[in-house]
Amino acid sequence: MDNKSSTMAWQAVPPLRHANDNEHGCDRMSRGNVLDPTALRADDIPLPGPDAGPLAGKTVGFRLDEIWRAWDWIADIWADEFRKAGATVTFWRSNQGRTGVEGERLARELEQFLASIDIAVVGLANCGSCTGWTIRDALAAADRGLPTTAVCTAVFEELGRNLAQRGGRSGLRLHVLPYPLNEKQKHEVDAVALEHLPGVLRTMGAELAARQEAVA
């Protein structure tokens, strides 16, 4: 067979200047109607969802990622603070094998994880596809009615917000950590974790009530 085809039906699409254009909205100055090529998603939830509230007595679940050690270190420090406030903390680690048999296994694990917690802290949006999956998992948590906060680094904030909007939840809570982060030494990352503790609590709508009462 020859790779070169002979008669492509370009003719099926009218030429740029078509005899019937005037009958279909074109005036003599060649202006007319074109059809919008974009698709729209109409639904959106602009609200952030429920506050986490006082952490005492609640189970906070951190979604970790195989690839980001800095997020592990930050989650450890925040988890310690949450425990001091009377919360129970659990962790679930994702990787990017979210397809096929491995993907089905991770989907089941995620489902079990979300069913076992009261508050979700989902990270880390620190690369393109990581942001995609962070937001997707955060949306899954939010759709279950869990107080949910996604965590991203600064470079990926806009992507995170855009993906949340396109996922139907423009109001998703998003806490932003500095970038670069994973390239820093542990003591530098630990400092970031402590510096951002008040901020992430605000984003979560959470209160360290138990610790405050103890101090009082």
Partner: protein, 385 residues
């Protein structure tokens, strides 16, 4: 402004009078098209291209204005209802309708006969296991490659010989471009908005759309090996093209060793510490394909050799990289393998008869390759690709 018939009403009407669903350039008594209309220059391509770019519709190349007449003519060449939702493409996940496909295909300059191929490719990309969600957002330059098998390759002038991955003058470029415009305008993949691709790739403009040179291949067509005979597309999330030159090898085994060793480099996504598995595609020119087949007749053996030679000594990686791969169970006998198993290396035959080169397509990792038959629409009477 034309009267709009809501989706659903059109389908119901068409069931009663299917001959009215495609009315051609002259239009119908009823308007089957539901897209918003914009007033624009429709004869001046450059002016329309500027108009489209301002609205975020374009890719920088000239666009054909998708007038109602042109879109209707494109639809008339097929047997699909305009309001038929083919799939949902992430991240937007809005319905990807036949109408939106036609509008973008007209803008790209794709022939009407390419609609079934475009639909099959989009359906394949929309499969959850293809992981378009991550692919469209990632910092990686990954783009879906579309490989065409079957007689449709000739009917649509899909290149499979010299310059098949770029440079062959063919309408296949416009077909690939149509798919890319759909990814932008319907799926919502926008650079630095929903896509963080650090560098991108030329393949994100007009796609990577090529055919297998089945007549010269010693192996069964890839789609057939994957269970789909005849006209079919296979989509593969590729990081781009990697050329492999070999002017020394004389035997099939030497060629496979050389190719395999070049495929295995530590920075390939197949060795990413976040990817628990990966696939690989290799395009072999017809000259080498014959030599390889002569010396290694069983394709499974070919795949096994490529798999083995493309593996790396785990100690070649940095300690943290190795540790992360070990956590994913990817280190076996001190080695890390580029693809999960030998059968995850897909070997196809295409390219020119000058030989000397192979092309490696490294995968993104989590995008599992999908194959779909290219089928006419569900309604009788239309043209087929």
């Amino acid at each position: 402004m034309s009267t709009t018939i809501r989706p659903g009403a059109g389908a119901a009407r068409a069931q009663q009078a299917p001959d009215l669903r495609d009315c051609g350039p002259q239009g119908c008594a009823l308007d089957w098209l539901s897209s918003q209309r914009h007033e624009a220059e429709v004869d001046d391509v450059m002016e329309f291209t500027r108009f489209a770019l301002e609205r975020g519709w374009g890719d920088g190349l000239p666009l054909i204005p998708p007038t109602e007449a042109r879109v209707r003519a494109f639809l008339a060449g097929n047997n699909r209802h305009a309001d038929e939702a083919i799939c949902a493409l992430p991240p937007l996940n809005a319905p990807c309708t036949v109408e939106k496909i036609a509008i973008n295909a007209v803008m790209a300059g794709a022939p009407a006969e390419s609609m079934p191929l475009i639909i099959a490719a989009l359906e394949a990309m929309a499969h959850p296991d293809f992981e378009l969600f991550g692919l469209n957002a990632t910092t990686a330059p990954v783009v879906p490659l579309t490989l065409v098998n079957g007689p449709v390759r000739n009917r649509l002038d899909i290149p499979c010989r010299h310059g098949c991955l770029g440079g062959a003058p063919t309408t296949a470029v416009a077909i690939g471009r149509a798919i890319r415009l759909i990814m932008k305008n319907v799926a919502g993949q926008e650079i630095n908005v929903t896509s963080q691709s650090t560098f991108g790739t030329p393949g994100r403009v007009a796609g990577i759309l090529f055919g297998e040179w089945e007549e010269r291949s010693p192996w069964a067509p890839l789609a057939e090996r994957r269970g789909v005979g005849g006209d079919a597309v296979t989509v593969f999330g590729t990081m781009g093209t990697m050329n492999i030159l070999d002017t020394s090898s004389q035997s099939g085994t030497d060629l496979l060793e050389m190719i395999g060793k070049w495929l295995g480099y530590p920075g390939a996504n197949g060795f990413s510490p976040s990817m628990p598995y990966a696939q690989m595609m290799l395009a072999v020119n017809p000259v080498w394909a014959q030599i390889i087949h002569r010396d290694v007749p069983d394709l499974a053996d070919v795949q096994e050799m490529l798999w083995r030679f493309s593996s790396l000594d785990a100690d070649y990686l940095t300690p943290k990289h190795r540790e992360q791969l070990e956590n994913l169970g990817r280190v076996s006998g001190g080695r890390v393998y580029l693809a999960t198993a030998p059968q995850d290396i897909f070997v196809v035959c295409c390219g020119g008869t000058g030989g000397l080169h192979a092309t490696g397509f490294h995968s993104f990792g989590s995008c599992l390759t999908q194959t779909r038959a290219i089928l006419p629409g569900p309604h009788a009477g239309g043209q087929q690709a």
